[in-house]
Amino acid sequence: MKRPPMLMRVQIHGEKRRFLIWLPLFLLLPLALLLLIILLPLILVAIIILRLRGRGSHLPPVIRASFGVLCSVRGIKTAFDVLCSMPGLRVDVSNRNERIYVYVI
């Protein structure tokens, strides 16, 4: 089973300053989910408006709204899939004086 990432290590080494942080994603994700739930009605309204003004305006509003919600749910699922696929991602860019290192666990 896929699981969301637990930690993210971000390390920046510059000439003048050094910065290392372990981001506890397992704590941030519930907050993001809460924010999403709060914003969901607004997202729904935005989708309905966009659907009414844009493509598919010949369809009844209920179908358009249902389609919009379905789309957003699919979008949220895909975004969650991407998030769950991130563990193992490592980016390390450096030159003689600077280094940026990101590692998702």
Binding site: K2, T78, V82, S85, P87, G88, L89, D92, N95
Partner: protein, 147 residues
Amino acid sequence: MSENQKKILEMLANKKISVDEAFQLLSVLKTEASAPESTAEAGTTVKPKPKYLRVTVQPSSGHEHDDYAERVNVRVPMSLIRSGIKFTSLLPPEARDKVTGALHDKGIDFDMRNLKPEDIETIIEALNDLEVDVVSSNEVVKVFVES
């Protein structure tokens, strides 16, 4: 050490054969010994699934200590690539058409609308054999798959 190898070395010690002949005979024995194993392996070996796509950029030899020399080491999980490709299904049709058109202009005849989930798996599996090495005067770029 096998009996045949001992015999060859004995013949060499007794000066019945030359060093070159002994070397050739030992090489033949070695080839014969490894051939059945390799064919058996070829029949049963299953390529491990690719886990990560790696992209590395290293300064070429002689440029390691240059001020502008940059090193890049990126490891992308294959599952992330898989999910990323699936993400394309969320693109609005207008945007997808634009991407397809832009690819066509570049000579790439690829329609994103035809991308199916089974195709994604085929693409991921095909990446197993991917290996790109670009060597320039300053940098060495490598793209490969890690299992």
